[in-house]
């Protein structure tokens, strides 16, 4: 028997998922995370699983972690230094010079990850074509490195201007640093991300160096703990492109792990779309503090290269997941103009909603959902986490209902409506920015809280169908089980897209493809089924932003070039609404991705249960449409078999999430156990 196991460590919970590759039988567990020592959490997760899954049978182990993200947020990374081009040591702080909040006079910028005294300059200068205006002065460099040695730094970032065009100066510095400061962690920007736009490259390089030592130690510990638990295969770690890395590779590029949870969610959404035959969907994964939103178009998650984490730019190839500050912990308040506000402040996981009974004093969305009866008073996680309905009722009554002159239920219903409007606002601006109309999409609802309000979000956005996956609360962990091994290579090389580009483009892509093949061989992956994908980013001359277009396989001749430019014109029209057929096209970045296939588990057919579902009990739920509390049937998700349907108003409960089906809607159970909800 061979089994795949995924362990996803989030801020609040650690999700563990296991699936039998042949039968498709799966197991899910949710445990509290252990931020102080995350490897403990992973080991505990495996231990919890071992009763049902013999760990020696595990043939693939995939891992997602917030260890890097936490270190970044809490400022607990390594003592990191930077060597950069003379005159640019402060670029890390100047960034793009926008301020963090438009109207807040007392806003703070994020603390730079490298203090100014450890940001040292190399006497050197390159131009955009890679030629040297000034050669590297090795003597002064040696002095700088010796200074850093005395300061006891643990990690070094190297980022020089135009190093994407010529990496020789960075390589020289790297060699000297490894010589003079043996044992320290080194990240050079030309190794990590040879792309133009210096601030984003610099920031990514520094984040990587800052997390490197800590993440290397963590990943080694993880490998040891899982081996000790009886798992015979080394872990793979998910990264921001939704692909998995071997352990050593993840230690080299820890910056890629900080977006791992959302990326795994996007992979999960794409796999859900594939099994339901859906091309376009908006995935909404709503947890305690935030909601991750991702577009699936053509069956694939939208790609993006830029993202900010805790105010730090991280610009690695990845999936485009947007984080909205709306979750179960969002605080409900009445402003002095008597308007109802939900968020942006959040009670987070600690102290959390009032009903958690951990000291939260302000009403949150979760409290409102409990007041409405959508959440069970018995609590979350099958009762493992009890909820205090009396205090929720009291706080929503006092802080929301009274100031507005409403009943407590009306106020709670209002808070849900406002939260829905907030989410819709963010989803709309995301889809419009990419040239899409949300009405052409389906809505995937995941996370502990997503399925509780998804039908209302869909109604506001005029989306016809809501899909709730079989295990919405373990969406990211499930993504770990369906991800492939992947690495991306990118390099900036400016060229006009005409006949003169043929040889440069051919040679540039050949080098990247060679690097991809070497990498597959080094990691013993060459015998896996694998594909390499080639693409270029292109723009009209004079523009300052690029779009990726695929490069067809085979020889790059004039016909291939015409195919690429035609694809660019079409992509530009889709994304930006117009094309400029007469304008010269410029290629900017060359990209190659190597994807080594990890066999996907079969899905188990749902078993047991009744064709005509029977409610497990009835619960009082407040329905706005009727302005009253109504007895609603509550169903156990595990007892709903394929083909059966449930008419709203109804509640469907399961271990890791709750689904609310409003009056007028019907949920149908699919063959794989997913729910599809439409209006009657």
């Amino acid at each position: 028997m061979s089994r795949h196991v995924g362990v996803d460590i989030g801020g609040t919970f650690t999700d563990v998922a296991a699936v039998d590759l042949d039968s498709g039988e799966s197991h899910f567990r949710k445990l509290p995370s252990t931020p102080a020592n995350p490897a403990d959490g992973a080991a505990a997760g495996l231990a919890a699983l071992s009763a049902e899954v013999p760990l020696a049978d595990v043939s693939f182990f995939a891992h997602g972690t917030t260890a890097g993200t936490n270190a970044l947020i809490e400022g607990k990374g390594a003592r990191t230094a930077l060597i950069t081009t003379e005159g640019f040591r402060d670029l890390l702080e100047i960034a793009r010079q926008r301020r963090p909040a438009l109207y807040d006079l007392l806003a703070r910028k994020p603390r730079p990850l490298v203090p100014r005294r450890w940001r040292r300059e190399a006497a050197e200068r390159l131009r955009s074509d890679g030629s040297a205006v000034r050669a590297l002065d090795a003597e002064s460099l040696e002095r700088e490195l010796n200074f850093l040695k005395q300061e006891g730094i643990e990690s070094l970032a190297i980022c020089l201007l135009h190093s994407y065009a010529n990496s020789s100066h960075e390589r020289e510095i790297r060699a000297l640093a490894e010589d003079l400061l043996p044992g320290i962690y080194v990240t050079a920007s030309s190794d990590l991300l040879p792309r133009f736009r210096e601030y984003e490259r610099l920031s990514t390089t520094v984040v990587n160096a800052y997390l490197g030592p800590l993440m290397s130690r963590y990943l080694i510990a993880l490998g040891e703990r899982t081996a000790a638990a009886g798992v015979r295969v080394p872990p793979h770690v998910i990264q921001s492109n939704g692909g998995l890395y071997p352990l050593a590779e993840a230690s080299r590029v820890p910056a890629a792990t900080i977006l791992s949870g959302p990326a795994a969610g996007a992979t999960s959404a794409a796999s859900l779309c594939a099994r339901l035959g859906i091309e376009r969907a908006i995935s909404m994964d709503m947890g305690g503090t935030s909601t991750d939103v991702c577009l699936i178009d053509g069956g694939l998650p939208a790609a993006a290269s830029g993202r900010e984490v805790a105010g730090y730019a991280v610009e690695l190839p990845g999936v485009d997941v947007r984080c909205i500050g709306a979750g179960g912990g969002s605080i409900i308040a009445v402003d002095p103009g008597r308007l109802l506000q939900v968020g942006p402040r959040s009670a987070g996981a600690e102290p959390g909603p009032v009903c958690y009974g951990r000291g939260g004093a302000e009403p949150t969305l979760t409290d409102a959902l409990l007041v409405l009866g959508r959440l069970a008073q018995a609590g979350l996680l099958g009762g493992e986490m009890p909820l205090d309905a009396t205090s929720a009722l009291k706080v929503v009554g006092e802080r929301v209902a009274e100031p507005l002159g409403l009943t407590t239920e009306q106020a709670a219903g209002g808070a849900v409506e406002v939260a829905v409007a907030n989410i819709c606002r963010a989803v709309e601006s995301l889809t419009v920015a990419q040239g899409h109309d949300p009405r052409e999409f389906r809505l995937i609802a995941a996370g502990g809280a997503g399925p509780l309000i998804a039908c209302e979000v869909a109604k506001t956005l005029a989306i016809e169908e809501v899909i709730v996956p079989d295990h919405p609360g373990s969406f990211s962990a499930n993504g770990l089980l369906v991800s492939d091994i992947r690495r991306d290579w990118v390099r900036t090389q400016f060229m006009r897209a005409d006949g003169t580009a043929l040889s440069v483009l051919t040679e540039g892509l050949r080098q990247l493809e060679q690097a991809a093949r070497d990498w597959l061989a080094e990691n013993a992956l060459a015998d896996h089924p694998f594909v390499t994908l080639r693409s270029v980013s292109a723009r009209y001359e004079g523009q300052d932003y690029e779009l990726d277009v695929a490069v067809p396989s085979g020889k790059i001749d004039r016909r291939a070039l015409a195919t690429i430019t035609a694809a660019f014109h079409s992509a530009h029209e889709q994304r930006y609404g117009y094309r400029l057929s007469g304008q010269n096209v410029e290629f900017v970045d060359l990209r190659v991705a190597a994807i080594a296939d990890v066999p996907a588990p079969r899905r188990a057919a749902s078993v047991g249960g009744r064709r005509v579902p029977e409610p497990t009990n009835m619960r009082t739920v407040y329905l706005k449409q009727r302005g009253a509390q109504v007895q609603c049937p509550v169903y156990e998700r595990g007892e709903l078999v394929a083909g059966c349907s449930v008419d709203g108003p109804a509640i469907i409960e399961q271990y890791d999430s709750t689904t609310y089906i409003p009056p007028g809607s019907t949920a149908r159970v699919e063959a794989d156990g997913d729910l599809r909800i439409t209006s009657r």
Partner: protein
Amino acid sequence: MGADRPNQVDPITLSVISNRLLAIAEAMGEALVRSAFSPNIKERRDCSTAVFDRHGALVAQAEHIPLHLGSMLGVVEAVLDQYGEEIQPGDAFVANDPYLGGGTHLPDVTVVSPFFCDSGLAGFAANVAHHADIGARAPGGISGDAGSIEEEGLRIPPTRLATAAGPCEEVLELFASHCRMPEQRRLDLQGQVAANRLGLADLSRLFDDYGSQTMHAAMQRLLAATEQRMRCAIGELPDGSYAAADSVEGVAGEGPIPIAVQVDVTGDHLHFDFAKSGGPSRGAINVPLNALFATVYYALKACLDPGLPSNAGLHRSVEVTVPEVSILNARAPSAVGARTDTCQCVAGCIIAAFSQARPGRLPAPSNDASTAVVFSGIDPRSGADYVYVEAVAGGAGAGPDRDGMDAVQVHITNTSNLPVEALEHAFPLLVERYELAPDSGGPGEFRGGLGVVRAVRVLEGEATFSAHGDRHERPARGAAGGAAGGLGAYVIEDSSGRRRKLPSKVSGIRLLSGDRVEIRTPGGGGYGRPAEREPDVLGEDIRNGVVSSEQAGQAYGFDPESEGQP
């Protein structure tokens, strides 16, 4: 009628409608950034979008550039005045002129589209975008020393740009043909029309969902709610008169021009009086009335309630008085291209006045300048014209419990920089330094934010340099015993190493190949007495080289002998 009984909309519906209106303004903003061509709109997001009610009152504005509100307010009003009953479904109007069309300077081009539903005119979608050129004598159209509006480019009074039958091609053509890089201008303007069209479709859905009677009532109720919330904040201020004054640097030979505000608080009523501000400038730093209003609204929100919704309820809660003849009440044919410098100073004065009413709650003065530089010429590599525009950040004022932010754009502007690697690829220029300016943060218990030094060398061919900025002679002051921030400067160094200082507002400076321009921006003021600064924190500043040992000794009274070598 609904509008006469606004209270009939329940508070939940009101909150949801408020959110949906903001969503429409934000989606328009995304659509505009998406469909624009020029880097100025796309990369630097130098544009804004808003929704107005049928009377021309602002109901929702997306968070982009605070100053842009002025243009939209003015143009919607001008369109209503000029076209009134003639406004038809499918129309779109364009304007930029401060004297004929409610604009605030010519590169900010506003497009307004009326929204109709069953009962007639029901509102407006509007947006404004900063076009990289508007056909002025100086490329970019923002040079600080232009003498009159005629030198500043194409003037557009409210003009019909489209009807239900489609765009007015001849107007588009007239506009594009007056500007440099005409194809860019045409595409950007078309993008503006398209963004409004999206807003109208969304408004139509919203009106369908709630009915026009509820929508009109809700819009009025929303303005009332904002006014009530603002008046609550005003009511918490102690009654009294709070005055503050500063000055902006005029053009050559003009000297400083005073900017002064008196804020009178009476109960929940607020009155801004700018009577003591100076007369018009001969240069381009005059402020059209709508830009003054936008600045007042920005400062009010920032000082009293940063989370306040941006709508006309805020506008109703204050009264603004300004003399007929004033730098803050520009009259034709005064030039206005560089009004941002003056607006920044106005914002700074208002914050200084409020900090008397709210002691210990607001920061020391920020750099309060808008350092904008333009390099233009012909690239010898391609033979093509180039125009490189950049706004350079400065220091923010220190707060009562924290240091000021280093290197940020403050107050009414908020645009990104152009990456050095992008600009060196595109233009024959080399950026030699881009770093924080040590000692430019005003000393204090909490240090003012640092300004920036950016040095640009012309590598090939000749170039022309134009710029505006401020605080080259009078620094940002400190607060509560804190000291002043550093000054700004433009210095040209030729290839023989000879250095020449320029005034803060210049245009048409000829640069030869090998010449270098050093742009230095002002820092923010410090807060609290420098001697009170925590020794550890000061030591950290010294070790990091943001405070020199000279400044540490002179301004902070730091004695390395007694305190130990840092």
